[in-house]
Symmetry: C2
Subunit: 355 residues, 2 copies
């Protein structure tokens, strides 16, 4: 690893001059600049990030705004863990991360938390733009103050965000369609179960459904897809009778598609019914869903690697702040197929060289 000092010696200048050239600062004649640039290229000079971050005294704060989670809906736990991991890693680089949360069902708490967030004067923001309209007002402030921000999990366009970190929902639905077809025979029916309450994540879920349907349409498959919409997933009794009567009426249903992270509820219901259904495809590897998978109540879970998404959001924004390298506008995590047989071992942690 060639150093600035060595380059300086080769070019018969001082390290300071080389430093100026590297950072495109003014105060160097064209002639020497060109000479130094040539030498840099020749020796394939790369700044030592280690030394660089030690020398850079500039501090950054990244603020994160996530929906909060509880035991019943723990989806947002994983992204948060990914964020925490990234936070630990980049601490020594002078980047601090502050996390704020809000109630998914309450736009007001979203706005309030955002205001609180702004008070910390962050140099970068990660936000899950759950509420479309409210987001516009808030991101406009960020644009005005020239604070870069990225969207996590929910893709909105035309808001001026630096990047979107999430999944391709349509594609994941399309994949679900393929998996469903592989399980079913040509004349089996399908049941898609929606939740009417998932307004905040509406985009992702409807795109999953579209992708799913498109798979069958594109391949000219003639399986009938029934739909039911459930008002309240938590009203156990009602959900149960609801589904039960539906299944009795439609005995050809052999596959159930639940395009949200509450699949385990449906799975638990189904498994207690007499007229059970062999195949169920759900989304997101939450603890509850994982349990249902292990108990053979769910066939496939489609995971979007939420941990990685959180991690990457922080990572890409940090790289932008530190090195001014903009991330790609879309960072899509891989769509993972999880079955009982390949559930990732949660104990296995990957350690970074930095920790």
């Amino acid at each position: 690893m060639i150093t600035i000092k060595e380059i300086a010696k080769l070019a018969n200048v001082s390290p300071g001059t080389v430093d100026r050239v590297i950072h495109d600062r003014e105060g160097v004649s064209k002639k020497t600049s060109d000479r130094i640039k040539a030498i840099l290229k020749e020796h394939n000079f790369k700044v030592n990030r280690i030394a660089q971050s030690l020398a850079m005294k500039k501090k950054y704060t990244i603020a994160v705004l996530l929906p909060d989670y509880d035991t019943e809906n723990s989806f947002w736990k994983s992204p948060l863990e990914g964020i925490e991991k990234a936070k630990e890693e980049i601490r020594s680089f002078g980047v601090d991360v502050e996390t704020f949360s809000f109630d998914q069902k309450n736009p007001k708490s979203y706005i309030e938390s955002f205001a609180e967030l702004l008070n910390t004067n962050p140099q970068g923001v990660v936000v899950v733009p759950t509420f479309k309209k409210e987001t516009k007002n808030l991101t406009d402030i960020l644009l005005q103050e020239n604070i870069p921000f990225v969207f996590l999990n929910i893709a909105l366009s035309g808001y001026g965000n630096l990047s979107f970190i999430g999944q391709d929902s349509f594609k994941s639905g399309y994949l679900s369609g393929k998996l469903m077809r592989l399980c079913l025979n040509d004349d089996d029916d399908i049941l898609t179960i929606h939740s009417r309450l998932n307004l905040s994540n509406f985009n992702n879920i409807s795109q999953r459904t579209e992708g799913f349907d498109y798979y069958f349409k594109e391949n000219k498959l003639r399986n009938t897809n029934h739909y039911i919409e459930i008002e309240d997933f938590w009203d156990t009794k009602k959900v149960k009778t609801n589904i039960s009567t539906f299944l009795r009426r439609e005995p050809k249903i052999r596959g159930i598609f639940v395009p949200n992270s509450r699949s385990y509820i449906i799975a638990d219901h189904i498994s207690t019914l007499r007229n059970s259904v062999p195949f169920l495809i759900g989304f997101d590897l939450t603890d509850h869903n994982a349990q249902a998978l292990v108990d053979d109540k769910i066939t496939f879970l489609i995971s979007q690697k939420p941990f990685q998404q959180g991690y990457r959001a922080i990572n890409s924004l940090s790289r932008f702040l530190l090195y001014n390298t903009p991330p790609s506008t879309e960072i899509l995590s891989s769509i993972e197929i999880v079955t009982k047989e390949n559930i990732p071992d949660h104990r296995q942690k990957q350690h970074s060289i930095l920790l």
Copy 2:
């Protein structure tokens, strides 16, 4: 982030003394040592890895011994790329990586490359222990010289290796069984196609087969599983007629299981036959296999994340050398199910904060 200097001030000692306590070096009285330890704990002190690696002048060399690859069998390309990525990342930490390769079919080249490798006086070794007997002699030298080494991809026990980085082959075969069952009806037959030439990777492949068979046995499924062993996968004509006649004789076969990375060859053959087979499960996401997947000639590929394996091998060994933190004895990468619909986008690169 509290620094050593600050801790020193709090404890009324010099930074040097704190440094001694942190590294358990001698020369500090029990009394002050305890006091300092308490303060360190109280303030949750963590060494700044950035500054540490800059200050540490000790240099390490890790030597890697991999099978080489060509266009026909490109399996080892991915691990190598993972190794290269890790190499770039840890360069500034004073760890260098040197790669050596050998011919998978030639034990002599294995021994020779190993000898060459030893000449570079590495402080750590990553090796794919393709040849069992030969490996024993060579790792004994490493043990004698107290050079830590990890096994990549092939698990041998009783060799004194620091860690094994790879996959759980049995489990991946078991998973294949599950996927196959989901696709098939109760009275469909299966064909498992072995390659007699895969001696060097024999362990992994036979374990896959065992896992596959075990799934059907455990679940008391009565699908008949036929086996054929092919001498030379490259003898196109012979393979084709071979399989063709077999399939004609056994018209109930609707699923094919190929427990090695050459599935694409079988897939290509099958697709040209009149009596085609709908489901094919293979292993490893090589370029050829990916193409066959895209062309709908393969249903599922089981991937072992070879890139990550290479990366992790270097990473864990580096952590051991730098920080003396031993990795877990088994680092098993997740077993990934890949279909045409969720093939990972190869262009999407994940950038570390270090690069």
